[in-house]
């Protein structure tokens, strides 16, 4: 079952970030402030483990960008499909896109 997708704008941003940082990964954050948003890191920067679920890969050109979420959070999300989009903003956390004045955002629909 496909659980994740991305908009054209997100794909363009990923191409730009890959050029600067190499292969990428996403981990969906929970909690306050900049939470409830997808965080983008260089692949391997964020250590996933047995408490995480691999939701799927975003495919941009020939590159696969894995999307992860904590397993506990996934229990509440499993009935929804996530599309990663981009909006103007001033992201935080340590997500790679923030200095560009944009922010990845999740849009959801029911599976």
């Amino acid at each position: 079952m496909e659980r994740v997708a991305l908009t054209d704008e997100a794909a363009d941003l990923i191409r730009r970030l890959v050029a600067d940082h190499g292969p990428l990964m996403f981990h969906q954050s929970g909690g306050c402030c900049d939470g409830s948003a997808p965080m983008c890191f260089p692949a391997g920067e964020f250590r996933t483990g047995a408490s995480d679920v691999h939701l799927g890969d975003l495919v941009v050109d020939d590159l696969a960008v894995p999307v992860w979420m904590s397993a506990a959070q996934f229990e509440y999300w499993r009935h929804t499909h996530l599309t990663i989009d981009v909006v103007l903003g001033r992201g935080s956390g340590f997500s790679l896109e923030a200095p560009l004045g944009v922010r990845f955002l999740v849009r959801s629909r029911l599976l």
């Binding site: 929970g30 909690g31 900049d34 920067e45 964020f46």
Partner: protein, 507 residues
Amino acid sequence: MAKYAAPGQPGSLVTYRDRYDHFIGGDYVRPAKGEYFANPTPVTGEVFTEVARGTAEDVERALDAAHGASAAWGRTPVAQRANVLNEIADRIEDNLELLAVAETWENGKPIRETLAADLPLAVDHFRYFAGVIRAQEGGISQISDDLVAYHFQEPLGVVAQIIPWNFPLLMATWKLAPALAAGNAVVLKPAEQTPASIHVLMELIADLLPPGVVNVVNGFGVEAGKPLASSSRVAKVAFTGETTTGRLIMQYASENIIPVTLELGGKSPNVFFSDVAAHQDAFYDKALEGFTMFALNQGEVCTCPSRALIQSGIYDRFLSDATERTKAIRQGHPLDTDTMIGAQASNDQLEKILAYIDIGKREGARLVTGGERADLGGELSGGYYVTPTIFEGDNKMRIFQEEIFGPVVSVTRFDSYDDAMKIANDTLYGLGAGVWSRDGGVAYRAGRDIQAGRVWVNNYHAYPAHAAFGGYKNSGIGRENHRMMLDHYQQTKNLLVSYGQDAQGFF
């Protein structure tokens, strides 16, 4: 009503500078790479200053300054350190309106809140930690006739603090006051959404602090926060934010074997038992206000009571009354003293809230009121405003499980006490909770049964310095506020001293 003039306008109490550098070693220092980023006010969306875009080089420079200052500050007598904190408190109090205007312009929150809560609480927190550090005592344990264990508290040294954007000055104070009281030097990174108001404060208090004791490095998380959090030169990292970055900070800390304190948010239940509606009196009115607290600070509070659980017997009537109370919230210019709800702190925050309102509708939650972006007209049209929003639904829905960090409350009903506790605890988080009942026994038991670090009983959103604040479950590690916070910024030194003359007998 009164309306404060915006910073930089004629008659304003405060003018932001056109540009802010890093504050390092007691001076303003240009960023090593010479870059700055624009800082808009959420009130209008217009840029009002630019701020240094820090990088690893700037973090290293700040760490050099902090390491240069930490030993002397740590040896400074506690009475003297306490005096400095008291002087900082006095300086804030003397400039309270000025700082309130600066904070409102930076964050978008109504001036009513910055005047009545953010800044007065900051004053009190500095005074509180000035008091408790002087009252702190070590320990003496007599192990045997000739063997005595002395316990001393010592500063950690240089600590890193990463501050959130929802209460820029107050959250900086929550972290700075105990760290400084305990004798540490600090490198602090403000949120990139609210990087400037801290500099209005620093300019007011810089002369009170020895150079290097407090250093402020601005910049983006990935460029300045990460080098700070992953540095082998800090003895501790304190972070308020979200779970993924919290995990990343723990991961970096594990590489350096240092402690962290993390405050990572919540999805706080606010539980109303039937007896709150037993009388139409002041207490019922207080409970309705307690419901409406979800809109305080535009819902941008980690402990926002974003889930309301109402007992079946009073459900329809209470929700109807609470909805009327919510509709009475005055949304307007944040610098107007009558305004009760201001602007969300950033455009991406606005977009995220609207995306959650969308998924709430898709999941079948019923929109009771609000649920849209508010266009307040004129210069405010470019700002980030959301109408206070009430949803009715089921606790399994995502709007009941995820922190929206906006003025959105998700309401559901419960039948029995056990139902209430089951729903209240069906969450990944455990930061805050509210319990409302005229029955002291019920209120007490509920307060103990809810798995959260702070349970407000018959009140909500009070943050006194002398009450511990922090999370169970995914809401984080450690506490803030209260004297116990000193422990999070201190090492324990044990001196085990023998006063005997005889060999121990092993060799």
